[in-house]
């Protein structure tokens, strides 16, 4: 068979039902018509162009896609876009100030060299940030921070600098 004869069997038109969703993303009202099986992570990246939210494992293990859903850290790859209808979503793009000033958690990651390739960093920051905003007591011992970070995988750093960054973030936020 000639290679040119091979055609992918990807349907050109989807038969999926489509529904309208209205939600708030990073403070902006958003209204779109989406396939009912579109993931929130893909919605953010492909529909809205917010590619700061990364997609790693797509089944909730790696934590790269972590965003805030109504103020709490959640996996955007385990949430359908339609489930987020009416929700308030915050992504990594909304964390630094408009003028580029880093949020204390981002500043701490920078100071402590808590990232190498940076793929896991948006998820790490959204998770850590959410825990600081939660107003529950935080265990900032080594094991407590490891527990806090246990839902986010990093394949570069070996975590040591990320743990230091969480401690530094606590200092910068007056929580140490």
């Amino acid at each position: 068979m000639k290679r040119s004869a091979i055609r992918p069997s990807i349907p050109e038109r989807s038969e999926d039902p489509r529904v309208e969703v209205s939600l708030t993303v990073n403070g902006h009202p958003v209204k779109r018509t989406v396939s009912v099986r579109l993931l929130l992570s893909d919605f953010l990246r492909h529909e809205l162009g917010l590619t700061g939210t990364h997609v790693g494992c797509e089944h909730g293990v790696c934590g790269c896609c972590t965003v805030q859903i109504d103020g709490k850290a959640g996996r955007s790859c385990l949430t359908l876009a339609v489930q987020a209808n009416g929700c308030n979503i915050r992504t990594i793009e909304d964390v630094a100030a408009e003028n580029g000033t880093l949020h204390p958690v981002q500043q701490a990651f920078k100071e402590c060299h808590a990232l190498q390739c940076g793929f896991c960093t948006p998820g790490m920051v959204m998770n850590v940030l959410s825990r600081f905003e939660e107003h529950e007591p935080l265990d900032l011992s080594e094991s407590g921070i490891r527990d806090l970070l246990s839902g986010n995988l990093c394949r570069c750093t070996g975590y040591i600098n990320i743990i230091a960054a969480v401690r530094r973030a606590a200092e910068l936020l007056g929580r140490a």
Binding site: V36, E58, H59, G60, G63, T66, I69, K72, A73, G74, R75, C77, L78, T79, L80, V82, Q83, N127, S130, R131, E136, R146, D147, L148, S150, G151
Partner: protein
């Protein structure tokens, strides 16, 4: 669905259905509605007071970002044999409330979990709430598990509740385990070996030996059957004394 173990043709989102939210303590029962997230139950101060075993167990349920979104009833209906919440319901004789076209019925946890990812809920029913008892006054408790990575599926997990009589003998001891079979199981043989005993090392070793037959999970990609037996034995011998030491205080910790 992301694991591709379920491919439903139709999915109903129940998050906006009225009356399915919240946790309530009604007398001796904790009522957990279907949309209650793990984290909501974990942080509930009333639940922490009347049944601290729930909080201790939930520290092992995945990670906070997962517990923020995942629901307790969802975990029960998923019925993963290595999951912690199904174990807790079997350990404490919890109840599930299912409703469907023919009415509403209560299902004991022991009857609910049928096999790997299989429950006695029928196709046209939904579970609307799950009910757990408060711990008896003065009872001690403990939960722990062995996993490859913290927050991952348990190779073996064990929960224990025990009361002590005036002479320090174990009363109403309950033991259950996850990860050892196709469903969470009460360890009745180990309980029988310990009830009425002073929980001496010999009693614990006898209970651990009696629990071996409860492990029916064959060797799999995670570990072997014999290792699961050793872990179960180790957890029983470690956790029963912890539960007993908490019971001695006579107060909930």
């Amino acid at each position: 669905m992301n694991f591709r173990v379920a491919t439903p043709s139709l999915l109903v989102d129940i998050q906006h259905v009225e009356g399915l939210k919240g946790v309530a303590i009604e007398g001796d029962t904790i009522v957990i509605k279907a949309m209650t997230r793990h984290r909501e139950l974990e942080l509930d101060p009333g639940v922490r007071r009347v049944n601290p075993l729930i909080v201790e167990t939930m520290q092992h349920v995945a990670h906070v970002p997962i517990r923020n979104r995942g629901t307790v009833v969802g975990s029960l209906c998923h019925a993963d044999p290595s999951a912690e919440m199904p174990l807790l319901f079997v350990l404490l004789d919890g109840t599930l409330v299912a409703t469907g076209p023919v009415g509403t019925r209560r299902i004991a946890a022991a009857d609910f979990f049928q096999s790997f990812l299989t429950t006695s809920r029928s196709q046209d029913e939904i579970v609307i709430e799950a009910r757990l008892p408060v711990l008896p006054e003065g009872a001690g408790f403990a939960f722990d598990e062995v996993t490859r990575r913290h927050g991952d599926y348990a190779l073996v997990g064990v929960g224990c509740v025990v009361s002590l009589d005036g002479s320090g003998r174990a009363q109403n001891i309950r033991l259950a385990a996850c990860g050892i079979s196709d469903r969470p199981v009460r360890l009745k043989a180990a309980e029988a070996a310990l009830d009425g005993s002073l929980l001496a090392a010999g009693d614990l070793a006898a209970a651990a030996r009696a629990s071996a037959d409860a492990v029916t999970q064959m060797d799999d990609m995670n570990t072997s059957m014999s290792y699961r037996r050793r872990v179960l034995s180790g957890l029983i011998q470690r956790l029963v004394p912890i539960a007993a030491s908490r019971a001695r205080g006579g107060k909930r910790q």
